[in-house]
Amino acid sequence: MFELLGISSQALFGQLLIGLINGSFYALLSLGLAVIFGMLNIINFTHGAQYMLGAFTAYFLLLYAGLGYWWAIIVAPLVVGITGIIVERLFLQWLYKLDHLYGLLLTFGLALIFEGTFRNFFGSSGLPYSVPPTLQGGQNLGFMFLPNYRAWVVVFSLAVCLTTWFVIERTKLGSYLRAATENPTLVRAFGINVPRMITLTYGFGVALAALAGVMAAPIYNVSPQMGANLIIVVFAVVVIGGMGSIMGAIVTGFGLGIIEGLTKVFFPEASNTVIFIIMAIVLLIRPAGLFGRSA
């Protein structure tokens, strides 16, 4: 086995894999953000709170309805997605014509309210949620022990990301969506209900956040600030990928997960900042982001 800067290849493979796992959360969350920004022009700061709501919904389903992980992965995104639709109908729909700042302030305020409310009732230490029995245990890959659940996270989120990309970029429904963001008036003239489509898109983006929350619940504790810890990184991912670019969000999500993972080996103290350093460099060289269409 070869060595690189004193790190054995064994350790290196392990760290790359870990980076990929963390990257799947970044990808899933930034995908939702990119969809929402691309279609609605809203910078959805509530995304972290909605991710947290997904995890809490999974916890409540188990506690009060006895429904385990597999139910939660379907039900929680639906429930949280519906709350997203309510938020869109009540508040967001009035803001599309205004400056980005208004949407940002509103969604940021909502995030604070959601997180504060949950903290008030459930404290900050979090609540336990265990890995579903079918995915417990793990595989010894030789260079590392890979828990089955983490392998599932990578595969499943990759599938969700690619499906979403396919639907938006390669299907008729997706083309309506993209057309509606370019020129809503014209698309309406063809008899398509644009406001409803936008509402459902927001609901879908929020459901993606909730899905990520359910997937995170067995790994991290279910806690009110779990989203706040992640959301800034996810925003950086979206900025690096290019605001509104679906493929950009997916690729940078996984890519930055890996870069962050490697930083944790070579210079662990900087692992929180490395993504922002990359963001600064990308903004200097390509202000529209790596995959962004420059305006």
Binding site: G14, I18, S125, V131, K264, P268
Partner: protein
């Protein structure tokens, strides 16, 4: 970004206005500052404000003609935020004593301000033993526990039972560094060896990368020099990655009962930890917990909460004896001169370097089957007597001791 607003909770305890003694601005003002919204808010947070209020009530301040006010604030675990709060409190709001202050980086900043302004600083939440070492001041008392005591309790017990090679997972700020330093010293002194360490950003979320590095070190013991949600996630993810099944053991160098509650006994069972106080240790503690829990969302008091109660009680006794709350140095000198005695910590003393002396306890987390009720989590493994629990006075390097 999550907490732009610092929370200021104001709780006026009681005032009869018929002051016999002369207190500055007519009242004694206690400022409880800690993390009220983040990773440390369950183990300190509003519970510490509550504990201070209970101390004032039990002391009978009102009946004695002492008007006591309690204010609370959130320092968000940031030294700059904490420093600003304390400056405003002292200069504008005329706060006389700062209490609790977990997060050692914040506590070390506050330590300097309180000395400059000649007020009183009673530390319950922070851990860094530097507060009674090189950074000791005549205005500060370190009440509940410190990194030296934790290392001495947990570290020694583990090395003695065969855990002689260590790898540290350390929170990258003053507290983590101090805990790592003090534990490494204990490990080496008892014949063990430190194989490596990794410092993770604070607060962290995913520890799997660091845990893999710990695993690769082949150390028998992975020492967690972090706290709160960081410790919870480290332990949870270590079990996920099969680290304990692989023969390595975790040492949670600082863990609180709220962490055990969040982990659940299934994951936490068998952990060994050192604490200064446990609610189920005796009748007085149980009675306190019974009164405390319903007022704090059912959360049972941690040793930090109990320490706040004990420290505030002793402070009020000293102020009562001096009949003044004006001169911080004089109050702390009085607190050092008077022996401590309260229902939660029993009899004790405050040393010249500001270290409060009492026994520490080594606990083991119960198996799920052994726990009879919610919050019934610990069994007592050993009591570390008061004269062995803390760093010897001469070893700390506190300038106050030499003079």
């Amino acid at each position: 970004m999550k907490r732009l607003f610092s929370l200021t909770a104001l709780a006026v305890v009681f005032g009869c206005g018929c002051a016999e003694a002369q207190y500055s601005d007519g009242s004694i003002k206690i400022g409880v500052m800690n993390d009220m919204s983040g990773t440390y808010s369950d183990l300190s947070g509003q519970g510490s404000v509550l504990a201070a209020r209970m101390a004032v009530e039990d002391f009978g301040a009102a009946a004695k003609g002492m008007k006591v006010e309690i204010v609370g604030a959130d320092h968000q675990n940031k030294p700059d935020v904490g420093s600003n709060v304390v400056r405003t409190w002292i200069d504008v709001d005329k706060v006389d004593v700062i209490v609790d202050v977990p997060t050692s980086s914040v506590a070390l900043a506050v330590n300097e301000i309180v000395r400059d302004k000649n007020k009183v600083f009673l530390v319950s939440g922070a851990a860094a033993s530097d507060l009674t070492g090189p950074k000791c001041t005549p205005n500060t008392i370190h009440w509940t526990y410190d990194t030296w005591a934790l290392a001495n309790g947990t570290g020694k017990a583990i090395v003695k039972t065969g855990g002689d090679t260590w790898f540290f997972l350390t929170a990258d700020y003053a507290f983590g560094h101090a805990l790592e330093r003090d534990t490494a010293a204990v490990v080496e002194k008892n014949g063990g060896k430190v194989l490596g360490k990794v410092r993770h950003p604070f607060p962290g979320t995913d520890f799997s990368s660091f845990l893999l590095q710990a695993q690769a070190s082949k150390a028998k013991i992975i020492g967690l020099a972090n706290a709160g949600a960081d410790t919870i996630n480290s332990i949870k993810q270590a079990s996920e990655f099969g680290i304990t099944q692989g023969g390595q053991n975790l040492a949670a160098l600082l863990a609180f009962i709220t962490d055990v509650h969040a982990l659940g006994l299934q994951t936490a069972q068998g952990l060994i930890m050192t604490e200064a106080w446990y609610w189920d240790l005796n009748d007085a503690n149980r009675e306190f917990a019974k009164k405390f829990a319903p007022q704090d969302k059912g959360v049972h008091p941690t040793m930090i909460h109990a320490g706040v109660y004990s420290a505030v009680t002793h402070y009020l006794k000293a102020v009562e004896a001096l009949k003044s709350d004006a001169d911080g140095k004089a109050i702390v000198a009085k607190m050092k001169e008077m022996p401590t005695d309260d229902k939660l910590f029993g009899k004790g003393t405050v040393r010249a370097d500001g270290r409060k002396i009492h026994p520490m306890y080594l606990f083991e987390v119960k198996k799920p089957a052994e726990s009879k009720a919610a919050w019934d989590y610990y069994k007592l493994r050993a009591t570390i007597p008061a004269d062995e629990a803390f760093r010897p006075l001469a070893d700390g390097g506190c300038p106050l001791v030499k003079s």
